[in-house]
């Protein structure tokens, strides 16, 4: 066991390496590229006994990942943003094939307008595909989650691919101290993949991904994906126990931060949760009973656990780092669904959109959120979805609008 300063991308590559993956099909996209560059180098140098193939698109990459997994290999791939969407069709295919590959998504806002920094519309667009989804907060968690992901994916109660999310820039290009587990410890935790349901070999022909006709056949197989995903809740928790025993670090479906006596709860996900934790610490210093939940397991969605954690709280504020135009925050809906039948549910559940395209969420925003929670309880009216956008942000965009010749002032300047 060694500790090193690693970026999230490098940590992801280490996760794949320690999992002794057989195959890495690859296609570059910022901010993910460092993962495949690193793996390419290790494989080329003989440090990893795996096959690396440069593919022609993410659509081809996810296909090759899926068919290699269907052949019986342990497969790792990584993508981001537009890449995930370009391969979108195949996400549903590989879950239907029930192949246990692991795919890392490095979150990045979706075009148009094209941008580089993260929000979660990319990864959440895959939420109905059948992939297990785990969202990481730190570089360490990225590495650890990859090891856990193969255990979950290859479990016969699941046999679904896993999508692991890390934020572009905030994790992908950020170095922090990461413990790289021993190979021996990893082999005690993660046994070799031994496919029993899907493989290709001369002595045992099989047809995979076969077309079906008729709703009852389709429903049967489709619902199996749902049941398998639900099983992943139990399997995740079992795997987490094993992981803690061997590596000492503990992961749960939802991370609870200073929740014990909290009256007000902020819900976040991914790397920006650290900003929320910092805000919670400040509120606590002020004597405000604020806690934070970080959603780690997005699929299957941990409804029961969420309900248990939020029962008896006064107010909840969900910060969605994504936007479903015309509806609001995506995760907000699942959280309200979880609480509907809870008799002791919070009096107010507020929806905020923040961090789109990597926009910072500062203490100003957290102050506003906690203020809004208090006000909602006080007056008994819950506000509609709000965008966390400051005066400073507005000034900045106004300057840019001027330069772009989109304001009367700007147009005037262009004339002169």
């Amino acid at each position: 066991m060694v500790k090193e300063m690693l970026t999230g991308n490098y940590a992801a590559a280490w996760g794949a390496r320690l999992s002794e993956v057989d195959y890495v099909p690859a296609f570059p996209i910022t901010p993910q590229t460092e993962i495949i560059e690193t793996l390419s180098q290790w494989i080329n140098d003989g440090e990893m006994n795996a096959k690396f193939t440069n593919m022609d698109s993410e659509h081809s990459m996810i296909t090759a990942a899926g068919t290699a997994s269907a052949t019986g290999a342990r497969v790792f791939a990584a993508t981001s943003s537009q890449g995930l969407l370009y391969g979108y069709e195949m996400l549903y295919n590989v879950t239907g094939w029930r192949v246990p590959l692991v795919l890392v998504n490095v979150s990045r806002g979706l075009s148009a307008p094209i941008t580089l920094e993260p929000d979660h519309n990319d990864v959440l667009s895959a939420r109905d595909s059948g992939f297990i989804q785990i969202h990481a907060e730190t570089c360490q968690e990225v590495l650890d989650t990859i090891l856990m992901a193969y255990r979950i994916a290859e479990d016969e109660r699941v046999l679904l691919p896993v999508l692991i999310n890390m934020d572009g820039f905030y994790l992908s290009f950020t170095r922090e101290s990461v413990e790289i587990p021993d190979k021996d410890a990893v082999s005690r935790f993660l046994p070799e993949y031994n496919p029993k349901h899907a493989f290709f070999k001369a002595s045992n022909p099989m047809s995979q991904g076969v077309a079906v006709l008729g709703g009852s056949v389709y429903s049967y197989f489709k619902y199996q994906v749902h049941l398998a995903s639900l099983n992943a809740l139990t399997v995740h928790n079992e795997v987490a126990v094993d992981f803690k025993r061997i590596f000492g670090r503990s992961y749960s479906a939802i991370e609870a931060f200073r929740m014990d006596d909290a009256d007000y709860v902020i819900i976040m996900s991914n790397s920006f949760a650290v900003k929320g934790k910092s805000a919670v610490n400040k509120f606590r210093e002020m004597g405000l009973k604020v806690g934070l939940l970080r959603l780690r397991l997005i699929r299957p969605f941990p409804y029961k656990e969420l309900r248990r954690l939020l029962s008896g709280k006064r107010a909840v504020a969900v910060i969605d780092q994504n936007i479903s135009p015309g509806a609001g925050g995506i995760l907000f809906n699942y959280i309200t669904t979880a609480l509907y039948h809870e008799p002791d549910r919070p009096e107010a559940i507020l929806s905020f959109i923040g961090g789109l395209g990597g926009k910072d969420i500062s203490h100003t925003e957290f102050n506003h959120i906690v203020g809004e929670m208090g006000k909602s309880i006080e007056i008994g009216v819950v506000p509609e979805t709000q965008l966390l956008y400051t005066k400073g942000d507005l000034e900045q965009i106004n300057n840019l609008l001027n330069i772009a010749g989109k304001t009367s002032e700007g147009v005037e300047r262009l004339r002169n």
């Binding site: 239907g96 094939w97 029930r98 016969e156 109660r157 046999l159 029993k196 349901h197 899907a198 022909p205 099989m206 047809s207 995979q208 991904g209 076969v210 077309a211 079906v212 006709l213 056949v217 049967y220 197989f221 619902y223 199996q224 049941l227 398998a228 099983n231």
Partner: protein, 301 residues
């Protein structure tokens, strides 16, 4: 009043068009009407089904017709094809029409069909009048007559309208009209029937689907070479027959059979798998000695 009509045929016979002709004829007659085909994966030669509904009120139904008032079976061999399930939901109130040269009584007894049966050799009429085994107009005409509520002129207009939309030649359309009117006249008026209330639907129940190990719960197939269980031999309109006395054992028929239905026996003679031969007749056409004949398939079932 709602009349539910189900059409059974094989891909290429024209039952989708038949359902549309009846739909359009009903529409022209002033009824609310609805028609829809159900496509499977199968194509030309494979069983298919189409539906038409007509009513005096807005139709609050869609999709498959489980229990038809009129059941058109345009291909008699479908009666022997379990997967086609052409008699599903038929009851005492159903009029079943079968395209066959057999009399109704024979078919009724052979298949234990309930309700009224009308038989007519529609293929024969199509071959004579149109010159091809295309049954759409003729079959639609039989159905229209048996509804008791569609007039000859609506039928004629519907045939012209539907076939024109398929870009058929005027001459072909005229022949179809002729075939349709011939059939319309050939079929006696249906008895004005009192439609008994539908017998209580079989009460199915909701079950809880359990997780299955992915060896079971995935759409993969472990068994090999199982399509032969489908017995596509009932697609045949004509049966190729090899005259083994004159066969030169050149293997042309074997090599050119697209469907792997001709094998070479121990004596080096070709043998046809009639369970599955679809009757494409490539062998009949390609045989250099012309020792393969084709027989009209009338007793496939």
């Amino acid at each position: 009043m709602i009349k539910r009509i189900r059409f059974h045929g094989r891909g290429g016979q024209g039952m989708k068009t038949a359902s549309r002709i009846v739909g359009t004829a009903s529409f022209l007659e002033g009824f609310f009407a609805q028609d829809s085909p159900l496509y499977g994966a199968e194509r030309r030669g494979a069983p298919m089904v189409a539906f038409t509904r007509l009513s005096k009120e807005t139709i609050l139904e869609r999709g498959i017709i489980v229990s038809p008032d009129i059941n058109m079976i345009a291909d008699e061999t479908l009666l022997g094809d379990k997967s086609a399930n052409v008699l599903q939901g038929t009851w005492e109130g159903t009029i079943t029409i079968i395209n066959t040269h057999y009399p109704a009584s024979h078919v009724k007894d052979t298949h234990g069909i309930v309700g009224e049966i009308v038989t007519l050799d529609i293929t024969e009429i199509a071959l004579n009048v149109i010159g091809e085994p295309v049954l759409s107009s003729a079959a639609a005409a039989v159905v229209c007559k048996l509804t008791g509520v569609i007039t000859k002129s609506s039928l004629e207009n519907a045939v012209i309208k539907e076939l024109s939309s398929l870009n058929l030649k005027k001459e072909t359309i005229q022949k179809n009209v002729q075939a349709a009117l011939t059939c319309f006249d050939r079929i006696p008026e249906a008895h004005p029937r009192y439609r008994k209330p539908i017998k209580e639907a079989v009460n199915d129940e909701i079950v809880k689907l359990e997780y299955a190990n992915p060896r079971i719960g995935t759409p993969s197939v472990y068994a090999k070479e199982t399509t032969k269980l489908k017995k596509t031999g009932n697609w045949r309109l004509f049966r190729p027959v090899i005259d083994h006395e004159k066969c030169s054992r050149c293997r042309t028929c074997f090599v050119y059979c697209p469907h792997s239905c001709i094998s070479i026996d121990e004596g080096d003679y070709p043998q046809i798998d009639y369970n599955n031969c679809k009757g494409c007749l490539t062998c009949f056409y390609e045989c250099p000695k012309k020792v393969i004949s084709k027989d009209r398939e009338v007793k496939a079932w």
